[in-house]
């Protein structure tokens, strides 16, 4: 029940990208966040294939968030794969098997998954590249990471 280093780095990278205002190269990002460069590259590539970041090759290229904002849930799912807290019935289909506590246990775990998903989907990382010139707010005051509560 833990978040992998890969996902942790990915989260850090995403927050960092949201702070930046242009594409950032993997090397630069690795230095900023002290993440092993080659490993980070793999992570960014995965995030790209999931459509979370986009990349530009060549000089002055790099990675940037693909959308205005992305949820923490999306990033975790992309990097750690689907959360598997419960074990589906061994037999075929969705029919009940005959392990007395199987169904009841899975019910609890399924609820847990939903809870986690709901919580993490609500937490988003948003870039602040487009400066909101209408707003009287200073840029620094706009949160990069935000959640409904807090």
């Amino acid at each position: 029940m833990k978040v992998s280093k890969k996902a942790y780095y990915g989260l850090r990278a995403a927050v960092s990208l949201a702070d930046a205002d242009g594409p950032v190269s993997a090397r630069e990002l690795a230095e900023r966040e002290r993440i092993p460069e080659e490993f980070l590259e793999k992570i960014l590539q995965k995030l790209r294939r999931s459509g979370i970041v986009e990349s530009k090759k060549g000089v002055e290229g790099g990675y940037a968030l693909a959308e205005q904002s992305v949820s923490v849930w999306d990033i975790l799912r992309a990097l750690d794969g689907p959360v598997r807290t419960f074990t589906p019935p061994l037999g075929k289909g969705t029919l009940p098997c005959d392990f007395p506590s199987h169904c009841r246990t899975n019910d609890v775990l399924r609820r847990l998954e939903e809870e986690i998903e709901k919580t993490l989907s609500g937490v988003t990382i948003s870039r602040r590249s487009e400066r909101n010139q209408e707003s009287g707010m200073k840029n620094e005051e706009k949160a990069v990471l935000s959640s409904p509560d807090s």
Copy 2:
């Protein structure tokens, strides 16, 4: 981000024990739930050291839930160890380090942990060994697994 087989088996075992009305041997429980016997024994021993089940040796011995009810959270913590979703700062103490996104990322993950804990602590497994003779309710109608909502 998954629940280990160990924890999953432990959960199943606990639900099963809550259903039973006397101590159940590891062998019997393993058969009922189709869990590898030696492995289940290790799991039950861990649950015992955490005070979740109690054991009785010898003929007619076995395991039983130690308390009237136990939360799913307790079982998971006992078997999978503490949930570690975030990485504490590398330096000493609680002082901030200099990785731009470190603090913000950890804040999110810490909130996630709290959320999970809150959710799972609310789900409890309670035994129904003491028959409530005053109640008009039939025994079968008393839920072994319960949560505030649902």
